[in-house]
Amino acid sequence: MLLLLETTIAFVVIMLTLSFLTKSLTSLIKNHLDYYSANLKGEFEHLIKASVGGTWEDWQKDVPWLKDLRWDRLGEEFLGKENLTRILLAMEAPLVVIDSLDDRIKVHLQNIKYAFETRTKNITLALGMGICLILNINAFTIWTTLYSDQVVRGKLIEPAKIEALLHPPQQAAKPKQEQDPPEQDKSLQEIRQNFMSQVSKLRTDMSFGVGRLWSKDFPQGEAYRQHGPWVAMLFEFTGSLLTGLLLSIGAPYWHDLLRRLVALRPTRK
């Protein structure tokens, strides 16, 4: 039972790390595409069109500063009641529209939130699947490796490592201007060297069958050789797809699960 629990903890640690990677990439794409602003503009258009009708050209005649708006710099505060009342009054909207504005704003804000979250989830799903399919990261292989290799499992579930994952150090960020450039370069070099050594260690110690499909000697193992390369390929494809789905569940889920499992572990010992 302890073996199963340790394997699960190690598996969750890997999933959490990969989820962090996917989340970081999603944030990068999210900031680049900036679809939040597009949603905000779309909902503003809907609200004004449903209130007074007309088009952007008509609205800009009544409220000239609308054409100077930088939507990428605006948040949902722009859809505040006071602001919209001022705009709608300038557009000669009927009083009945102003009276029902509060409820209508709530609907539009919910629409923005829903659209933003749904699209972020979809991007995470696509990215997770993309990473897993391209790098051939297979959850089944990871699980099997962890279950059968005690050394690897032990390295992954070291208390210090799990502690670092559960409670990342809250270092006081030193303002950029206070750091000397040579000192900054030195610390960056150290971080880089450390990262590279960690990566090479990870590659040698724990490959978990990542990218196995792309190696020249694929398929490896007795079972693979028995069933042939096509079955092995389908197994890798299914495994990678499933791993992509698991990654898209999100880092918070894996974090919570890890915390619960770690809390279980000492009582079992």
């Binding site: 449903a50 000669e92 829903y114 696509a126 993309g130 792309w214 092995a232 390929m233 890798e236």
Partner: protein, 150 residues
Amino acid sequence: MAEQKTREVATSLQSQLCNIIWFLACWALLVMVLATLRLLGVTVPFPTYKIAYVLLASLTLGLVVILGVLPSTRFGPPESLPPDVQTREERTRAPQENGQKTIQEAWQTIGDGLQRLRDREAQGTASATSQLVLNLRPNIRRHSQTRPGR
């Protein structure tokens, strides 16, 4: 507004379907090119199962991107116009129409009142006030004839 809503949803679905068809067509073309190369005996440095993996992965990823990431930025149909909210055109048109209607109704009421007084005068039951109004009748009639709606 309901028609507009239906039109927006239909346009969105149509564009999504169009994207899917284009993607599937490109993918099928790629498969056909690879199959033709194989039939012609052109050797590629990768085993067939690896190419099949790449094709399967690209199909899955492409569909996920088209169905999940590409669709319009806005989700859900737009809010419908509340029944008592008028558009700008309706609001500018309404006062003129309503004003004409009110004037017509007013002249109609005056005309009816005069007719009743006339009936009373004919019956000999008109009161002093009625007599006074009837004396003003020519002025009212003249005035009413110059107004629209009479």
